[in-house]
Symmetry: C2
Subunit: 551 residues, 2 copies
């Protein structure tokens, strides 16, 4: 059982642990019908586009929202137990708030004695924050607990009912009550916090990813925002600069940077299939490309008194306005040289593809760190701090790090491992879809996809194979990258296509691998890069299709 505030460091892990089995069972039914449809590709793509366009009207589509706001526990409860239920008051529960007198909590209408579980809580002692009271608010925040599996475990510790009067007093305020509207076409990996990706079939239809189809990776609820009174806080040594969004727009030179942003967990599903990992089960679409308009972080920091020769500062930290239940915010940091380099192109953005940044993507301000992992592109930015050390945030220190395949949770040394910053080279096939039947009357099929590398390294070649990697065909890199901007490097992905020879009537494995401008290449297999948190799955992308003769 996993209770109250299972420590921030386990949030994402827990989502995965509890949801993977469920998601898999689920995907073997409905999702396969959608994502691995055996109908012809073009019909499928058309359906997706229709769905995306008429998003508001898409009624009755499967939404994957399997974690409901108020899951009904009664189906789990034995009727015999219910009849003889002792009734406790909030005062009774409050008397059991330490190990000596036992740890009681309430959830909805029931009382639980979780003394026997506390020791094995994955989030450690933080579970005690809920001791002697209701955990509803915590679970509303950390909705990852709300899976049938966790609820079933909780039921094992049930000792009775909470008095009707006290039930009413519990504040069930939902921190996720004011989330923005999202397109139903998004494939949801976690509802609270919201994490979702677009369908692979539409992702590579345009170089720029429309805002509504851009993957969403939220660690906490989307914050409300009082633009009127908002000031961005910039701290450099003893000095403090406070800037409204309007002041930022007026005071510094605006620039537009086109960059691909990718979640470190992109393609985690494949790594999880190889061997179980902890983390959200992303497909190959936790990646997207947008044109961000804002001002250079360097300009703001210099204005705030940052001295390039001052070696006290090694890192620039960012804090978001999205807060957890303890009121501490999401945070991350990047090395000084990336932040202050003229060609680092780090900006504080206020526009995404020409419009105000949507709430899901960081309204009103977001740091854009081209070529770096998505996690450092901090959303809902409210504070920038020059520091001698990395952000102390959980997500900087105890997450977003990669260990060797032989490292376990017991041997993982988070202090020693380096934070993911610049990203390695990756690619994926978007068309045809995994498991689909494709038609070919001339023994040739078209394969499409994306390729990207971090650090401003361009993609110089994509190789595609229809025989599992024995022979390779060089793909065409789509040269059309619309819109000149102020980027000093190749921060954006390359879309590609290739015509490969296949044998009709046969199951065919199609494989792609990309090479970046430093001639780095993707690893062939997942095994040697497997890591317990399932980060950076950049092995060759492989899909199986059945080729049908069109004649």
């Amino acid at each position: 059982m996993s209770l109250v505030l299972t420590s921030l460091c386990r949030t994402e892990s827990t989502v995965c642990r509890h949801s993977t089995a469920f998601t898999r069972a689920f995907s073997s039914n409905t999702s396969k019908k959608r994502f691995r449809s055996s109908s012809h590709q073009e019909t499928k793509q058309f359906r997706w586009k229709l769905a995306a366009a008429a998003s508001g009207a898409v009624v009755g589509m499967v939404t994957y929202n399997y974690i409901q706001n108020k899951p009904d526990l009664t189906f789990l409860r034995k009727s015999v137990q219910a009849k003889s239920d002792p009734v406790y008051s909030s005062a009774d529960v409050a008397q059991h708030a330490d190990k000596q007198s036992g740890i009681w909590v309430t959830y909805q209408d029931s009382v639980y004695d979780i003394t026997g579980f506390v020791e094995s809580h994955p989030g450690g002692e933080k579970i005690l924050m809920g001791a002697g009271g209701p955990i509803d608010a915590f679970w509303n925040m950390y909705a990852v607990h709300k899976t049938p599996e966790v609820l079933q475990i909780l039921e094992q510790y049930r000792i009775g009912k909470l008095s009707r009067r006290d039930q009413k007093a519990i504040n069930l305020n939902d921190p996720f009550a004011n989330e923005p509207f999202r397109l139903p076409v998004l494939r949801i990996n976690s509802q609270k916090p919201f994490n979702a990706e677009p369908p692979l079939e539409v992702l590579t239809d345009s170089f720029i990813t429309p805002n509504e189809l851009f993957y969403v990776r939220n660690h906490l609820p989307v914050p409300d925002f009082d633009l009127e009174n908002f000031k961005l806080e910039v701290l450099v040594g003893g000095r403090k600069l406070a800037l409204s969004v309007d002041e930022i727009k007026k005071k510094y030179k605006p620039v537009t940077i086109t960059t691909t942003i990718q979640c470190a967990g992109n393609r985690r599903q494949e790594m999880s299939q190889y061997q179980n990992v902890k983390g959200l089960t992303w497909g190959a679409c936790a990646i997207g490309t947008a044109r961000w308009t804002g001002v250079r972080l360097r300009d703001i920091l210099l204005d705030a008194g940052f001295d390039l020769n001052d070696n006290r500062f090694k890192h620039i930290q960012f804090n978001g306005n999205d807060k957890d239940i303890t009121k501490s915010s999401y945070g991350g940091s990047i090395p000084k040289h990336k932040a202050m380099s003229i060609d680092g192109d780090v900006i504080i953005a206020y526009k995404m593809n020409g419009v105000d940044i949507p709430r899901d993507h960081g309204y009103p301000l977001r740091v854009i760190v081209p070529g770096y992992v998505g996690a450092r592109n901090v959303k809902w930015l409210h504070q920038v701090v020059a520091s001698d050390e990395e952000s102390s945030s959980h997500w900087q220190r105890n997450d977003y790090k990669v260990f060797s395949p032989s490292t376990t949770f017991e041997t993982a040394d988070y202090k020693k491992a380096q934070s993911i910053q610049e990203m390695p080279v990756i690619s994926a096939i978007s068309t045809p879809a995994e498991g689909s039947k494709v038609e070919s009357d001339d023994g040739v099929i078209e394969v499409k996809g994306y390729a990207w590398s971090g650090g401003g390294r361009d993609i110089i070649r994509v190789d595609v194979s229809a025989d599992g990697g024995k022979t390779w065909k060089e793909a065409n890199l789509v040269k059309d990258k619309p819109g000149a901007d102020d980027s000093t490097h190749s921060w954006a992905w390359s879309l590609w296509n290739a015509e490969v020879e296949v044998t009709p009537g046969k199951k065919t494995e199609i494989v792609c691998k990309a090479i970046d401008s430093a001639y780095n290449c993707q690893p062939e297999f997942i095994g040697p890069i497997w890591n317990l948190r399932g980060f950076l799955t950049n092995a060759w992308h492989r899909i199986s299709v059945e080729v049908e003769d069109d004649e």
Copy 2:
């Protein structure tokens, strides 16, 4: 047969084509005795060090100089032919200098009618430069022709003798007559031009590679140098700056940059073993680390009038003072952003590890381009040119490019492929040596090696496996990187060591792979990165050892 000036574009290729078979036959005898000795490691290392220290006194050691200056052709010549030899004068030969009258050439004391060969010359029409005259001077320059195989082919076209008087008139001046002294301990891959690497066992004994043990990769003869009259020429648009070495030292701020330089062909031997490639057969030691002192290229270019906002200039070209027979020099170029970026750390160096740069490494000036392929670190620098295009040099346009594994010499499109610039992540095991017997009384052996990545990306982890990659042990990265300098990035390699568990009495495969700070990793196998020129062999390094019980 490969004759006169087989075009610069084939120089290195030809060395390999003709020498590989020979080298292999050779290494199966003598070299194996030295490099794959079954004696204990420590004894071997001692021997190497002794050899290095007492270099001058190493007499009678195998030198690999299989290409002699004046190979004796008589052993190839049929005696019956010799008796009835017609004698021709230079004037006779000169009358056969076009396809109509036939193409005759002379070499040493003989006359050859090579009309039937011209069409199939790998270097194309350039062979005609020797038509109607002696090819001795060309072959002295392109000594790669001087293999038994090429000489044997030439003999097939022999038609007679050159008159004694005309033999004397031929200028046999050897452009390699004034090469510097080199340690006999170096393993020579090609004598003319000189290409050699240190033994693997000593390479990783120090973070800084001693100048005398630093691999040498020369494309042409080492030039003589008239320091008195030398001026470095810097051309920016219509402006020209000319600087003596002393002026460079006085005018600009000196900086010291510690960087690893690696040849694109490092570890080519392994790729060649997988499937034949064209190029010098380098082991794993065409890599080394030195502290270079000089001045920033950026400072010189700005002084010469380079305007950072002038978008006419996209590349900075470098020309060396080493010249081929047509008097055109070795050249290369790098993109403007690398040259002009403050943290690109590109310098024009005059010192290597605290002393004047040795002749073999570029005396008096060499460009140092940290994190880039060795080929752009142009030696004997005499000219810097701001340009809108890459260097027109053969080595920039038609060499140092990588193709897909399925690309052949017939399908290779050099115009489309990107020049190698930044280098990918690589590592190698230096101890124990391949094929050696190692002792272990506790089931543990020590493994040592190097790891490096280009672009200033640090090595963050090295994984070592003693079961071919099933399980991994994280190596210790040697933190001792002596000497603070002006480097803005991690340009230098990481040395590492690890204790791995082995089973005495068994043949064991030891494998290493490195991960850089962008979490790029090495490919597992050579197959998917194989390329016809054998560049960038950065697959996992694998060695086989026999573990003996020490008790």
